[in-house]
């Protein structure tokens, strides 16, 4: 019987967070600190003709100013790890500050001012004057769609069957274009770092989703051994993908600290975050669906293009997940990019999947209306029981159960198919649904566990907790498999002094680090069993690892508590005070025999003001199948958060660019509208648990991104049902419904 797994546990770091004890990167106290402030370009493309720092240098408190004219150059990147996550490049070409007089995007850093206080640095930054040879920037991706290209055609998935012929001959067809603007993550905590050097050793407190990635980045940049760089990031106030790659500031802060021989603190302002890290790219999609009269899909042609920078080919892989959702013999999903004079996009919660599923699931809704088939029914008709590309069986896939459970809870059967057929007083009521999908990824990850004779344990891993509750879930898994009360387990993360773990991204942390903890606890059990079994009269003599378990500080034969020895007793007899195991867990090869994934179904009710076009999401029911749920409390929070993100994407969020200047005009929380509490009404999240020992021994799949994937489509579909108006361009602001 599980003691912790599957039971609600409050965040172990909750009190520290609400009392301010939890230290975020920029909050560490380092004596003698100098403050940096970034100066940004005011043009979108061109060259810096001259940059005048004389007046700024004379401002009170200024220590030094760096521009492309005097900033040291980083060593060229060597490591493959620096490659952007999802694109084709062989070499890292990520943006580095102050390396050239070229301007690649508006609000590009052109100088770094260092001063004794933050206010002095900011003030002096405003005195730095640049003059430019300006060129016309191109930031309007849709205007340049004709230049779209496939960054890596040889790696693109091949078409399945013959989609265009199947489309031509289909009994029922729909074809439509969908667009999504640039969006920004807007985590609460601004990105920032404190860097200092001791001889040739660099320490950096950084806001990051992966301490090891930052370490490699800095070690290569300074041409020093990795061991000389220590990256510390115990708490992260949200990141959502914006801190997966090292952004330009960790190097900038470290460079400055090295040059001026003082610790340097550098924190982005909210405005600077809009080009200081990536963003969800602008996306254009066209979906053509062909079906027979019964609704069976015969062809899916799903084209997508997203914008990238001029210096990197970032693909959002928009069509990747959607192509495996439905059993359809003929599928093509070309994915292209368009170069723009913007900074490079990056992963943003559920990258690609949420954008791609917005288009596909809206198109499915459109098809349902052409066929006059209930939208849920249409999904069930085309349900993929095996992976449609590989033909492999799924290790587990309870999507069908999710559809049924959520539909039942929502009351979907009472829906009238006709648009504008449901009302609540003046308000038009609409019900829409969609499907969510994400991977069940696992990456190699290491942990260290020390079990002590005093009945406590220490667990550490160089992973990160950007908010989902990693501190809590890893503590819980360790407590479960070490047989200790959770209060006796201390878990630390976010430091390169701990064993290597991957970035927190792709929703694979619990599956990766949790598996490592589980396996390492098993190693410890084996070591103790070896020690305990040595003795002639041991109650565990000849017992095998699988026959024993930890419970209440004892090692015992399963279900036979009488045959046990206390852990402290074993250690005492062997003159040990503690036992340590360092272990790396890898995904099992067994996984390759199967298709793996996590799924969900979302049902949404909206109420639309028929006069004013205001949409309220009054009810969301979401059922999610993502393996075994370790901690329902934080897991529900993840799904609820995903839904809120989906509401923002559907209704309010858009980064606005003035294409004349290539400049983002709403880089702040008053003009960029994330949903507020008043926008989030009834939300119900449920899990359909899957027992899946193939993905990993604990049956863990990802969930942090999954929860938002179908939401924008479900909302747009509900809006159509309410109003009869199909909005294919996000966000659905009031004027689009007038």
């Amino acid at each position: 019987m599980a003691r912790y797994i599957g039971k609600e546990m409050s965040r172990v770091d909750g009190v520290a967070k609400v009392t301010g004890k939890a230290k975020y990167a920029a909050e560490f106290q380092v004596p003698g600190i100098a403050y940096g402030f970034i100066v940004q370009s005011t043009i979108g493309k061109g060259t810096i003709k001259s940059i005048d720092t004389a007046e700024a240098s004379r401002a009170p408190g200024v220590i030094r100013i760096y521009t492309h004219e005097n900033a040291p150059k980083p060593a060229p990147p060597k490591s493959a790890e620096l490659k952007p996550q999802t694109n084709s490049q062989e070499r890292d070409k990520s943006f580095r500050a102050l390396q050239t007089n070229r301007i690649f995007f508006n609000m590009q850093p052109i100088a770094l001012v260092l001063a004794e206080t933050f206010e002095q640095a900011r003030y002096a930054a405003r005195l730095v004057k640049a003059s430019y040879a300006e060129e016309k920037p191109m930031t309007d991706m849709e205007a340049e769609l004709k230049s779209a290209f496939m960054p890596n055609p040889q790696r693109a998935p091949k078409p399945r069957g013959n989609p265009s012929e199947a489309f031509q001959t289909a009994a029922v067809k729909i074809e439509a274009e969908y667009t999504i603007p640039v969006e920004h993550h807007n985590p609460m905590e601004p990105h920032g770092a404190i860097a200092f050097w001791e001889n040739e050793k660099l320490t950096i407190f950084d806001k990051t989703q992966g301490v090891y990635t930052v370490r490699t980045h800095l070690a290569t940049s300074f041409g020093i051994p990795e061991e000389n760089v220590s990256v510390v990031s115990p708490f992260v106030g949200g990141a959502f993908g914006s801190s997966l790659r090292p952004n330009y500031y960790p190097w900038l802060a470290s460079m400055a600290a090295r040059e001026i021989k003082r610790p340097v603190k550098l924190v982005y302002t909210r405005q600077q975050m809009y080009t200081g890290h990536g963003y969800r790219p602008q996306t254009w999609q066209k979906v053509a669906l062909g079906a027979d009269k019964n609704g069976k899909l015969t062809s899916i042609i799903h084209e997508a293009a997203n914008n990238s920078s001029t210096f990197e080919d970032y693909s959002d892989n928009t069509t990747n997940f959607p192509r495996s959702i439905y059993a359809c013999p003929n599928v093509d999903s070309p994915q292209k990019i368009v170069k723009t004079d913007m900074s490079t996009p990056c992963a943003m919660r559920a990258p690609g999947a949420v954008s791609g599923m917005f288009a596909l699931e809206c198109a499915m809704d459109e098809l349902a209306y052409s066929l006059k088939i209930d939208p849920l029914e249409l999904r069930l008709i085309n349900y993929a029981d095996v992976h449609p590309d590989s033909g492999k069986a799924f290790s587990s896939k309870a999507l069908r159960e999710c559809y049924h459970l959520a539909a039942e809870k929502f009351g979907w059967k009472n829906r009238k198919l006709e648009p504008r057929s449901m009302r609540d007083g003046r308000m038009l009521v609409g019900w829409g649904m969609a499907t969510g999908v994400w991977g069940a990824f696992q990456q190699p990850a290491s942990v260290k566990i020390t079990l002590r004779a005093d009945g406590t344990a220490y667990v550490a891993s160089g992973t990160s907790d950007i908010g989902p509750g990693t501190y809590t879930v890893i503590t819980l898994i360790a407590a479960e498999y070490l047989g200790l009360p959770a209060e006796k387990v201390k878990f630390e993360l976010g430091d390169t002094k701990f064993p290597r773990a991957p970035v927190q991204g792709g929703s694979f942390t619990t599956a990766s680090v949790g598996t490592a903890v589980y396996e390492s606890a098993q190693n410890i059990r084996q070591k103790l069993l070896d020690l305990a079994g040595k003795e002639a009269n041991s109650p565990l003599k000849a017992a095998k690892i699988d026959e024993v378990e930890f419970a209440d500080g004892k090692l015992q034969i399963k279900n036979e508590p009488a045959r046990s020895i206390s852990v402290s007793e074993i250690m005492r007899r062997n003159n040990l005070t503690e036992l340590t195991d360092i272990h790396e867990a890898k995904p099992s090869p067994e996984r390759n025999k199967y298709a793996t994934g996590a799924h969900g179904a979302q049902f949404v009710e909206v109420k639309v003001d028929p006069d004013l076009g205001i949409v309220r999401v009054t009810r969301v029911v979401e059922a999610t199948a993502c393996g075994r749920i370790m901690n329902p409390k934080t897991s529900h929070s993840q799904e609820i958060g995903g839904i809120v993100w989906g509401i923002g994407m559907a209704l309010t969020e858009a980064t606005e660019i003035d294409h004349r200047y290539g400049r983002i005009m709403n880089p702040n929380l008053q003009h960029y509208h994330v949903p507020v509490n008043a926008d989030v009404l009834e939300v119900e999240t449920m899990f359909v648990e899957e027992d899946d020992k193939i993905v990993n021994p604990l049956g863990i799949k990802g969930m942090g991104e999954l929860g938002m994937v179908g939401i924008p489509a479900a909302i747009a579909n509900a809006v159509f049902h309410a109003t009869g108006k199909r909005v294919r361009d996000l966000p659905i602001t009031p004027e689009k419904l007038l």
Partner: protein, 333 residues
């Protein structure tokens, strides 16, 4: 550092003196707008004269009318029993603005004085005649979804963003102003904000050093039938795309007096006398409301991205009038 002098004032006279004496001094009230703009480097006063200790926070009835202190907080004003009872439109408008935390800090004087939310005004790297006269208007040919459809010039197309003032226009309020010579002048609120014309840097008619001391609300018969309707991009904590302050006085089903003021459409709340007059003497029904709405918007000249405000404005007027007729605040039509 961009340092400034901080001068706490205890009397209105000294506050006025301090600001009059220094062309780049400013009054500091709740600070919810001014401090934000200073952080953005949009406002750069070298002295802040703190007026929060002045004895100007009372809300008191004087004869038939109500005088609301310039330093009364938005929250206290909205919730004052006399305001709730006699001017529910004002309560509704104030509570439609900002967030509870901001309203607890914001004062009525500061609210009247709040500056536009034009994105170009906020970005010191961009041209903006209001922030820096002569640099051009970034929004005119740029992003102007939230900008004006009435009364703008080629120098500036910004809107006045406030909710409270939109209701004050409908309520025929006037603004009591302390002049540097110590005497008061009273300006009808309709004449308080200006149109941008050639001088968009001037939001209103207040002269440097002049202090708003109170807002006076005359008695009226609108309390039973008024409604403030605000259309925004999210349910709270966003400025109006379009708002309407509507008020009716009827005898039977016949309209005796009407007020229609649009917010979010011009450099000042936009009151339409013509539409109001068109309602007078007519039966209060959807058809007359529609006619009035058509009249109110007939001179609108939308920019590239804000054409929707015309239709939205019409619909909002009709709905606000209907809701006013149905008993106003709190009741949905």
């Amino acid at each position: 550092m961009n340092s400034f002098k901080y001068t706490p004032a205890t009397e209105a006279a000294s506050a006025v003196q301090s600001v009059s004496a220094n062309p780049s001094a400013k009054f500091l009230a709740g600070g919810t707008n001014l401090i934000d703009l200073m952080k953005e480097y949009v406002e750069r006063p070298n002295e802040l004269v703190d007026i929060t200790r002045l004895n100007l926070a009372q809300i008191k009835s004087t004869g038939g009318s109500l005088s609301i202190g310039a330093l009364a907080k938005n929250t206290d004003t909205a919730n004052h029993p006399l305001v709730r009872q006699n001017y529910p439109l004002l309560t509704q408008a104030i509570l439609a603005g900002a967030s509870a935390q901001l309203r607890n800090m914001a004062t009525n004087g500061g609210n009247l004085m709040q500056r536009t939310r034009c994105q170009y005004f906020y970005d010191i790297a961009m041209p903006c005649n209001k922030r820096e006269p002569g640099t051009g208007c970034g929004a005119l040919e740029g992003l102007n979804r939230i900008h004006a459809i009435f009364g703008y010039s080629d120098k500036c197309v910004a809107t006045y963003p406030g909710d409270m003032a939109t209701a004050l226009y409908a309520l025929d309020a006037s603004v009591r102003i302390r002049k540097p010579d110590g005497r008061d002048r009273v300006v009808p609120v309709r004449e308080f904000h200006r149109l941008p014309g050639e001088a968009p840097e001037k939001d209103n008619v207040l002269q440097h050093g002049e202090l708003i001391v109170a807002i006076d609300l005359p008695k009226n018969n609108f309390a039973a039938k008024s409604y403030y309707l605000k259309v925004r991009d999210r349910a709270s904590y966003a400025f109006a795309l379009v708002s309407v302050a509507a008020a009716l006085e009827t005898s039977g089903n016949n309209i005796r007096q009407a007020r229609i003021v649009l917010g979010g459409v011009a450099h000042k709340p936009w009151r339409s006398d013509e539409a109001e007059n068109a309602l007078v003497g007519k039966p209060a029904n959807e058809e007359t409301f529609r006619q009035a709405a058509e009249i109110a918007l007939k001179d609108a000249k939308p920019l590239k991205h804000n054409g929707y405000k015309v239709e939205l404005g019409k619909r909002a007027i009709v709905l606000a009038l209907k809701r006013a007729m149905n008993g106003g605040a709190g009741k949905e039509a």
